[in-house]
């Protein structure tokens, strides 16, 4: 069973459209994240949720809106897609929060291509 699963794996869409990426984890973790990986493989955190509450919200356009219906799910909705949004988006989860560090567990990514 996949621990962190995200769908879809590939997403091709046109500029201006609205799309969502879904993420689910079955690890019982309290904290979930969205990371963006650009074409140079650089991983940058976008959002972090702990028990459905937003903890981290890096400088991300407000076209990106995360939603956490429960602590096992963290979805990412993107409005008015732009060419620069093309990237691989990774969902991750961890046990830790605050000073209780623990590793991130990543999904296999969603490759978003905006044309």
């Amino acid at each position: 069973d996949t621990a962190v699963s995200q769908t879809p794996k590939y997403l091709v869409t046109q500029m201006g459209n609205d799309k969502s990426i879904k993420c689910e984890q079955n690890l019982g973790h309290d904290t979930m994240y969205w990371y963006k990986q650009d074409s140079k493989k650089f991983l940058k955190i976008m959002f972090s949720y702990n028990n459905k509450e937003l903890i981290i919200n890096e400088t991300v356009p407000n076209r990106f809106s995360p939603k956490s219906p429960d602590k096992a799910h963290l979805n990412l909705h993107i409005n008015s897609l732009e060419l620069g949004d093309s990237a691989v988006y990774f969902c991750a989860s961890s046990r830790g929060q605050g000073g209780n560090h623990s590793p991130l567990h990543f999904g296999n990514g969603t490759r978003l291509t905006v044309t």
């Binding site: 990371y35 650089f42 991983l43 955190i45 929060q97 590793p103 991130l104 990543f106 296999n108 990514g109």
Partner: protein, 113 residues
């Protein structure tokens, strides 16, 4: 802001040799460090972690070394195998900023059979 960087973007090694991947971090408050392996088309996979109260930790064929004085982290892979070919990332986190990790830019390791 935070910066975690790698000295070499690519590394090629012969199968059976040892590999060393280096990483520099800038936040002196960082107290937890992780190495990840990312294969093509997959998400980063946890390899090994180390806390700042240690300077060395060993796993299966891997060793992580931490030098807090110069803010340097390294990953040593013994007897490198073709399956080790991947992009390797270091990441660090500081207690004062919670479990927020900052990733380095990655090193692409190629193992030559």
């Amino acid at each position: 802001g935070e910066s975690v960087g790698l000295h070499l973007p690519t590394l090629s090694v012969q199968e059976g040799d040892n590999s060393i991947i280096n990483c520099a971090y800038s936040n002196s408050a960082s107290d937890y460090f992780i190495w990840y392996k990312q294969e093509s088309g997959k998400g980063p996979q946890f390899i090994i972690d180390i806390r700042s109260n240690m300077d060395k930790r060993q796993g299966q064929r891997v060793t992580v070394l931490l030098n807090k004085t110069v803010k340097h982290l390294s990953l040593q892979i013994a007897a490198t195998q073709p399956g080790d070919s991947a992009v390797y990332f270091c990441a660090d986190a500081a207690t004062i900023t919670g479990n927020q990790f900052y990733f380095g830019t990655g090193t692409s390791l190629t193992v030559i059979p």
